[in-house]
Assembly symmetry: C2
Homo-oligomer: 412 residues x 2
């Protein structure tokens, strides 16, 4: 039963709603110091998860994500102190006006309240999410996966003790210890106590949250970014952008998954692009016309269009026009990041105005869709929905607002 966690979270949220910037920053510093001071204990808890993981045949990649070491704990602590340095997103005046009847209305940013984070096997998410939620005046209920339960519990306990020493409620950070599917479902349906759910993880997790949540959700994650190489593209630039967008970090959501090449430039551009990609061992899955131009390409199946590979694979397709490229993106894209490479300003304007995505690029890699790159300092994920926030979710995106209205007895 998570109701008690919910009640404690609501009570803590009331304290956090009026906590000063200094108090919140001091708490973040105290937590960071406590994490480092407790390194040994955190590593021995993490060791338990690692042993379980090895026993259960967890993949090497997942084991690597799960593992903590002194450097990683220092990294977590450093980014917590970095969050402390960012501007407080709470209490900003968003609007300020006086009505003809004399009512003075001020719209101010306030914390959202209680944020539920449902995530998978990366224990750093525990501390990173907590830092962003605390700085934005929110209280967080964390529901991590069973694979990292010992690590998460240890990190959470250190954070709770440090919060109390900072004169903030320990319940600003709570961990759901029950890692059953039922506990996740219960959390995402506690509308009375939870104001928003943010899933952080793979497509399966995100789908389960959207399917089952009654609490409002900020959808993050899935990205099938496209690069469209226009007939007026600079081919060298196209090669560089596609190479970077596909291979600099294939596992992330802002990596490219498909390239669309205008027919008029395909014969010249595609072999050069393919050469750069093949040098990095990227498999190209093309339509019939791509196959005709590239000896080493493999034939794409219908399921390749719109697929998020997160791997050294890219789909490729010849299009007859910019409109056909836009059509493809509107059909198969996830509204994350889309790019046109062209020297034609009009084509660029058409693409950027028409393509419906969080980030639309002219002549730059989609890999820039990132809170750090956008100057937010940190992010809790990348929203691919259109309500509330789109693109990287920084501190401001973790706030809501209220109207404060000052009268002298006005009635209507």
């Amino acid at each position: 039963m998570l109701i008690e966690l919910g009640q404690r979270a609501k009570a803590a949220a009331r304290v956090m709603a009026t906590a000063s910037t200094e108090t919140k920053n001091a708490a973040l510093h105290n937590i960071a110091d406590a994490l480092i001071a407790n390194t040994e204990q955190l590593l021995s808890s993490n060791q338990l998860d690692m042993e379980e993981g090895r026993k259960n045949g967890m993949s090497k990649a997942l084991l690597d994500r799960l593992q903590l070491d002194a450097d990683r704990i220092k990294g977590i602590a450093d980014s917590m102190k970095m969050v402390a340095q960012l501007p407080d997103p709470v209490g900003r005046t968003l609007d300020d006006f006086t009505c003809s009847n004399g009512l003075h209305i001020i719209k101010v940013s306030v914390p959202i309240g209680v944020i539920g984070i449902i995530f998978e096997a990366r224990p750093n998410v525990t501390a990173d999410s907590a830092a962003l939620c605390l700085k934005s005046g929110n209280v967080v209920i964390l529901r991590g996966g069973s694979d990292a339960i010992h690590s998460n519990t240890a990190i959470c306990n250190v954070m709770r003790a440090a919060l109390e020493q900072s004169h903030l409620p320990a319940d600003c950070v709570q961990l759901v210890e029950d890692t059953s599917r039922e506990s996740a479902t219960e959390l995402m349906r506690m509308n009375r106590y939870v104001d928003v759910i943010i899933p952080r993880g793979g497509a399966g997790l995100i789908h389960a949250v959207i399917e089952n949540a009654t609490v409002p959700v900020i959808e993050t994650g899935a990205g099938t970014c496209q690069i469209y190489v226009d007939k007026a593209a600079n081919i060298d630039m196209a090669v560089r952008i596609i190479d970077n967008a596909k291979t600099s970090r294939p596992s992330v959501c802002n990596a490219a998954e498909c390239m669309l090449i205008h027919r008029d430039i395909a014969e010249r551009a595609l072999p050069q692009i393919a050469k750069a990609l093949e040098a990095k061992k990227v498999e190209i899955r093309g339509d019939a016309e791509v196959m005709r131009l590239l000896a080493n390409a493999k034939p794409a199946q219908e399921s390749d269009w719109g697929k998020e590979y997160n791997d050294y694979i890219i789909a490729a397709r010849i299009v007859n026009s910019i409109e056909e490229a836009i059509d493809y993106i509107m059909t198969y894209g996830t509204g994350h990041s889309e790019c046109i490479v062209t020297d034609d300003e009009e084509a660029a304007a058409l693409f950027l105005n028409t393509v419906d995505a969080a980030a639309v690029y002219h002549n730059a890699s989609t890999r820039f869709t990132d809170g750090g790159e956008f100057g937010m300092g940190a992010e809790i994920g990348i929203s691919t929905q259109k309500l509330h926030a789109r693109g990287p979710l920084g501190l401001r995106e973790l706030t809501s607002m209220k109207y404060k209205i000052y009268g002298k007895g006005q009635v209507r």
Copy 2:
């Protein structure tokens, strides 16, 4: 099967995304003129609904909401022309900066896309919602109740014809003709084609949408507004505000449903408040202490706390402190509009900072929580959730945003 509606809506949304302000305004004027020109036809369709309603024993109040007449149609047309005069919320620059790597990032407001509106028996909602959605560059799928199906179909057909004459797709406005529960459920789960669902109606409708929707929802409607009369209140002002907040229009969501009176002022204030309310035939349901002070009060049941009467009834309760008042509001309020009446600035600041609601008032009636009063010109509802938008939803609240990023070949 609503999928075809969804596909047509998405196609229309692409046209609307780049429609000019002039085109949208011209369409609104053409629709308004067409509604007036077709008054007779609209009234005869409405007559069919009215006859059905009478046959089915619909209440007088509901029949009144359902009824159209020439004046009401003129009112709908006038407010459509008023929406045309409001500033275009699309294309506003929300942020504009250049990164150290030279990337130029512009955050602009864009239409949300496809908005689903699920509503009950008021045919004016059909036209009003469409006007706000069109002005904000959105496409709307309307799913009204069976009681108003003839009226809604007629209004919708007139709007669609006028859209085509305005060189916009008729599919910018579509009506779900199937009024079964299944069609509403299907609409709220069409994540591929619908970007947001806004329910407009009673608590039952809103609950069903929250329970079943997988599409993001903007929750509107339910309001149990409280008025707290502080020990430092001006009693005359408290009488005036409570009278107004309860009786000026009891059926709306910004009407007061409960008054909380500080113990130190109760003996003087409560009889005066009660006198004003009883003159308007308001029933007061009080706790034991209120009962002791007011001869005519009825005893409140547990179910009276937090109840939205929408009627000439108000709950009343004595509190020992402002903290107890805030506690009550945090426990029973719906986060809509809450008011403190006091001459003590510190108490007012505590209340406005601590109470978590869309609108928090010092010395003014809660009835002002309204898009028109807030200078928005028009509203599609009042949001009581904390994501995306809180309080009155005007045109700006019907937009999303995107990042347009201009590079010179930057890679990461």
